[in-house]
């Protein structure tokens, strides 16, 4: 009798996907032994965008915090890495972690100010804050002011003495970072918190009424996202070995494209950023030579997807083929033969109400 209705999350697809994911991860770990320099560089870029897109998806797609100012934390992370390796002589790989902590700490006063704004004006507020950080770093002459600076040779060599070893180490750091980010998001979403987040996104008063502390929940998610985004920013600047306010705080590179990735892939689903990143890099591979045309196409594509397929490619796949790659959705499984049990359990439920 107690088997009448079961709630489950794992499906055959999600088991298969997990197995494929592990195999892929194994090959990615050993990739430096059979891939060339430029392929590794591209993979780190892909990891960065996948991590940024997944984090923005957690923020906007799950928590309803429509930030267009995440470039603030990419830039802060990048500048923190430069600051702590140049002035404090911290080892660069450790500095990636420290940069994340620095970005998260700066997210506290930032949130305190911009959480006063609601809806679309919250978005503008996040952007203004990012501009403030950009303009401030454009005044710091120790870090090259407006024209930026390169990572000094001795710091570069402290990553690893040879170029090949450096490439590999940066690659593994990137892989470790993206896996950690995805794991963190997965753990948050499949916990009770995940439910609280979607409740806030769907209706703030309703979430509050069932005991969710909206402000605190949003704040913690904003804080965690900022920290992880900062670490990704540090990784990006370590890979480029150069930083400038314009590039580090670029709204197009670190927010517009990230948003397009999430929207095209599917907002509010963990698969979304994964699919979107693949589409983004495929388009880039084919169309990057066309310069502005590529970005016009990307913008138009994002508009069309938002208007016609609000749940993106992942949402379409999930509806059309009932596919969920990550076991996050709770599914009700009814017993196949004993339909009486179902009727009974329904009666049972309604009698309890």
């Amino acid at each position: 009798m107690n088997e009448a209705v079961r709630i489950e999350r794992n499906t055959r697809t999600s088991h298969l996907f997990a197995a494929l994911g592990l195999i892929l991860l194994f090959f990615l770990i050993i990739a430096p032994f059979f891939l060339g320099r430029s392929e590794l560089y591209l993979l780190v870029e892909i990891f960065s965008y996948l991590a940024l897109a997944s984090l923005w998806n957690l923020l906007a797609g799950y928590t309803g915090l429509a930030s267009v100012g995440q470039q603030a934390f990419v830039g802060l992370g990048g500048y923190s890495l430069f600051a702590v390796t140049i002035f404090l002589r911290l080892p660069p790989i450790l500095a990636v972690l420290v940069a994340g902590i620095g970005a998260a700490l700066l997210a506290i006063p930032t949130a305190w100010v911009i959480f006063r704004l609601k809806g679309a004006y919250f978005a503008i507020g996040t952007w203004v804050v990012a501009e403030v950080y950009r303009l401030v770093f454009a005044q710091v002459s120790a870090l090259g002011a407006g024209s930026g600076t390169s990572l000094p040779t001795q710091v570069v060599q402290s990553i690893a003495p040879t170029r090949a070893a450096r490439d590999n180490l940066i690659y593994w750091t990137g892989l470790g970072l993206v896996v950690a980010v995805l794991a963190l998001i997965y753990l948050i979403l499949q916990s009770r918190w995940g439910l609280a987040l979607t409740a806030i996104r769907d209706s703030e008063p309703a979430a509050e009424s069932v005991g969710v502390n909206n402000y605190r929940t949003k704040f913690i998610i904003y804080f965690l996202t900022a920290g992880a985004t900062g670490s990704v920013g540090a990784l990006i600047s370590m890979q480029k070995l150069r930083i400038s306010p314009e590039a580090a705080f670029s709204v197009n590179d670190w927010t517009a494209f990230v948003i397009f990735i999430v929207v095209i892939g599917g907002i509010g689903r963990m698969e979304g950023p994964l699919i979107g990143t693949i589409v983004f890099f495929l388009l880039r591979g084919f169309l990057a030579d066309f310069g502005p045309w590529y970005f016009m196409l990307l913008g138009a594509f994002a508009i069309i997807i938002t208007l016609t397929m609000p749940k993106g490619i992942a949402g379409w796949l999930a509806e059309r083929f009932d596919l969920d790659l990550f076991p996050l959705r709770r599914r009700v499984r009814l017993p196949k033969q004993k339909s009486k049990n179902l009727a009974h359990s329904r009666r049972h439920q309604s009698s309890r109400q």
Binding site: A66, G119, W293
Partner: protein
Amino acid sequence: MDLVATVVDGILLGGLYALFASGLSLIFGVMRLVNIAHGDLIVLASFIALVVTDHFGVHPLVSLVLVVPFMALLGYGLQRGIFNRALDSDILRPVLVSFGVSVFLQNALLQTFSADSRRLQAGNLETLHLDLPGGMAIGVLPCLMFLVALVVIGGLQLLLYHTELGRAFRSVSDDQQTAQLMGINNAHLFGLAMALSLAIVSIAGVFLGIRTNFDPSIGPTRMIFACEAVIIGGLGDLWGTLVGGVILGVAQTLGARINPGYQILAGHLVFLAILTLRPQGFFAKIR
């Protein structure tokens, strides 16, 4: 005396920012849309004015005869074709769509006009100035911009509070469903609001082009200035938007006086400070 001149400059600059902002304020009031492409549309208007002045050899202010109708038509089309489809209870979709429009426009301008800095040639209007007692001089152009801002905002107020169309705008702003029940065609009305917004954007774009150099990348910063003016003034109040523009303008000129690098930073910081102390702005009508 020097300080007074700086403040006067800032007040007059506020007129330009009010011109940037009043179109944005109008569409936010009517349909709660924050148009992220607003700044890129201002720059588009500057470029169209450039094409018109080059082609017909007319003064930039005369080019408005063509730029205003063109932008208004574009606005109506954009609203009916794209923005109307994105408006719903979810605030994220309009943001995403207007972000897409923004990136599209920036790159379309880049493709068509290259990244070079341009300027609209307005002859001696650029240098004419009035001598005031006490050795002060103020430019005719900034005064003209401020005057035009007053006229535009006054005109919008007249339209909103003394015409049938204005009544329709206000009723849709209050309650879309009920307005529709009373026989108002919301989709058409939103189109008209965006057309009006972009007509104002045309004027702002032409003044922007006369006052400073412009290139395809400067749109987003103008949009931020516009939003700051709207939020400082308080959502939904047009005279408040003018006050917001003036506060922003004065903050920027005072910042620039300390160090040219602080101009824009000072504006943002004053905005954030006001936000912290008075999140609803000074004259908010919409909550």
